[in-house]
């Protein structure tokens, strides 16, 4: 276990290095990253000056090492547009996105997993058909459209909730639901699929033959075995939530990192965009790491350490 842990930690470090490299090269897809950093009104002389100031006229390898060194020191740079350090800009917005992601995850998990269990156990029954329809409907809703509909219904017509903007708990409800719906559907489907897979195995048949009641079968046997895919999906799903926040925050004018991303693209504040992408990546790597550790605890059969079987 200890060896596996260290090994996996090393892999996470490699992933962080890889993502940083990926972002460095994406910056240079068009050949000259300077153009991403200057305002649209910049003259040719401005661009030259900027290129020199930033050291973008140095050899690529030198730039790359410099970039890695900056990232290693958590130096995300300074926004040219706002003339504030990127870390400060992100720090101010981060709590909003965390609150939104937590709300959405709660909506997704609290509804999704029980729904998935019911769907699997009552498969083929009418009630499960109706529930599946709702799950698929939730999954097929574009978040920006469900967001707009929520605003139409609960803010414009009923006047129950504030339409958009930052604020207290009331302001968080609609964005959380809009963001959580898609993940809810994913949790429900994955839970359903993996429980169905478990149901067709020998041990379930023997348990049934021994007269184990369905409830006990589900809670004692199925959920543990079926939770493997659910756990790994949960890690990926949180990163979907962070990404989905871009759209949902735009719809609801929720001042988190998602809205900041779009604002920064519009105002050509590329360093902020890059920092948010890297942050999202590092968070996701951490979550995947956790998921794999949980994976190996729940199911020791899975030998991720690469030994021959």
């Amino acid at each position: 276990m200890g060896r596996f842990f260290l090994r996996r930690l090393g892999q996470a470090a490699v992933a962080i290095f890889g993502v940083t490299t990926l972002v460095f090269f994406i910056q240079r897809l068009t050949g000259d990253p300077t153009l991403l950093l200057v305002p649209e009104t910049a003259t040719k002389a401005d661009i030259e000056a900027m290129r020199h100031t930033l050291g973008l006229d140095r050899p690529l390898l030198v730039q790359y090492v410099g970039f890695l060194w900056d990232m290693l020191r958590f130096d995300l740079g300074r926004s040219f547009i706002q003339n504030v350090s990127v870390a400060t800009i992100i720090g101010a917005r981060l709590p909003y996105t965390l609150a939104l992601a937590a709300g959405a995850l709660f909506v997704a998990f609290a509804i999704g997993v029980p729904v998935g269990v019911v769907l699997a156990i009552r498969r083929g029954k009418l009630s499960s058909g109706g529930l599946m329809g709702m799950v698929l409907a939730a999954q097929s809703m574009p978040t920006f459209w469900s967001g707009i509909l929520l605003i139409m219904i609960f803010a414009v017509w009923l006047g129950w909730l504030p339409p958009s903007g930052p604020g207290g708990f009331g302001h968080l409800i609609m964005p959380s639901v809009a963001l959580g719906l898609l993940s809810m559907a994913t949790f429900a489907r994955i839970t359903r699929t993996s429980i169905l897979d478990e149901l067709s195995k020998d041990y379930v048949r023997s348990a049934r033959a021994r007269g184990v009641p369905t409830r006990r079968l589900v809670f004692r046997h199925l959920l543990r075995n079926a939770s493997i895919p659910v756990v790994s999906i949960a890690a990926i799903e949180i990163s979907h939530l962070l990404a989905g926040a871009v759209v949902v925050e735009t719809v609801f004018a929720w001042p988190g990192l998602g809205l900041l991303t779009i604002q920064s693209i519009v105002s050509r504040d590329f360093l902020v965009v890059q920092a948010i992408v890297l942050l999202g990546a590092f968070v996701t790597i951490g979550l995947n790491f956790l998921a794999d550790i949980l994976y190996s605890i729940i199911d020791p059969r899975i030998r991720l350490d690469g030994g021959p079987s």
Binding site: G18, I26, A137, Q139, I148, Q274, P308
Partner: protein, 294 residues
């Protein structure tokens, strides 16, 4: 050992047909969208990009100077129905191209990693991890921010960011299938690597992969719409449902139809794809159909 399947997992052909029946209307819906997309220039009542400033923000059914706005007009007086019809083209084309690209690349790499293990596994799965480490939307956004928006860029970005999803599923499934007795037996009997991968492993993991592909197809439709909604996808004046919704959001209280109809179209298209995918799973995944004999 070929015992009677347990009741809960059994599915007799007659029952399977009954399960398929409710999906047929959605197959029809999907085919209608495909036809509409293919025949857009023939069936669209008007040019999608022709503006008519006298006919701005007209509700559905309005007739102005001989132009009938069946589903209303947008903020530039363009016919919403015609734009919806052309928008179907964008959505479907982007989704088909990106799913095909990412599915093929991801499945092959994932299977190779899961079966070969060793350095192939390490390299492929590290790259998968790196790609999955960046939320796809963020990766798409930063890439589009660098490359610039546009249809081709959107398709490439979607394909490039989504292949790891297939790779991870193919990898995980291959891991669990590769140690099954029948695969070991095939190996002992001298089957080659490619034969084992494509004849023995692929059929047993194609179910989960198909489910992923159909979920992804719906997701790709949504992604294209999201990018266009954020102004990073297909650029105006080209019609795209996402961009239409983005305009419609500004007119929620005064012109509800602009945000409503593209949303309904997106919803119906994605819903039908998801439902079709779900019944495909029941047909394709041997595990859910009959109990596997070992």
């Amino acid at each position: 050992m070929n015992a009677m399947p347990p009741k809960i997992a059994a599915e007799r052909p007659a029952r399977k047909r009954r399960r398929l029946a409710p999906v047929l209307p959605f197959v029809l819906v999907f085919l209608v969208f495909v036809l509409v997309a293919l025949l857009a220039p023939v069936i669209a009542p008007y040019e999608p990009n022709v503006q008519n400033l006298l006919g701005r923000l007209k509700p559905p059914g309005t007739v102005i100077r001989g132009i009938t706005y069946a589903l209303g007009s947008d903020e530039l007086g363009r016919d919403l129905l015609s734009r919806l019809i052309y928008g179907a083209r964008m959505s479907l084309a982007a989704a088909v191209l990106s799913v095909m690209l990412s599915g093929a690349v991801g499945s092959v790499l994932g299977m190779a990693a899961g079966y070969a293990r060793g350095w192939v596994e390490v390299v492929v799965m590290r790259i998968v991890d790196i790609f999955l480490s960046v939320p796809a939307v963020l990766l798409a956004i930063i890439t589009v921010a660098v490359l610039g928006p546009g249809f081709i860029n959107v398709v490439l970005v979607l394909a490039l960011t989504r292949w790891p999803r297939y790779a991870r599923v193919a990898y995980g499934q291959t891991l669990s299938v590769a140690n099954m007795p029948y695969v070991r037996l095939a190996r002992f009997m001298g089957a080659g690597r490619l034969r084992i991968l494509f004849v023995h492993i692929l059929p047993n993991i194609v179910g989960p992969l198909t489910v992923v592909a159909t979920l992804e197809f719906g997701l790709m439709v949504l992604f294209e719409a999201s990018l266009s909604f954020l102004g990073l996808g297909v650029q105006p004046p080209t019609a795209s449902w996402g961009a239409m919704l983005s305009v419609g959001r500004n007119y929620v209280s005064s012109a509800w139809w602009i945000a409503t109809f593209p949303g309904v179209c997106l919803f119906l298209l994605v819903l039908s794809v998801n439902l079709i995918g779900d019944s495909l799973r029941d047909i394709l995944d041997p595990k859910s159909r009959t109990r596997r004999t070992r």
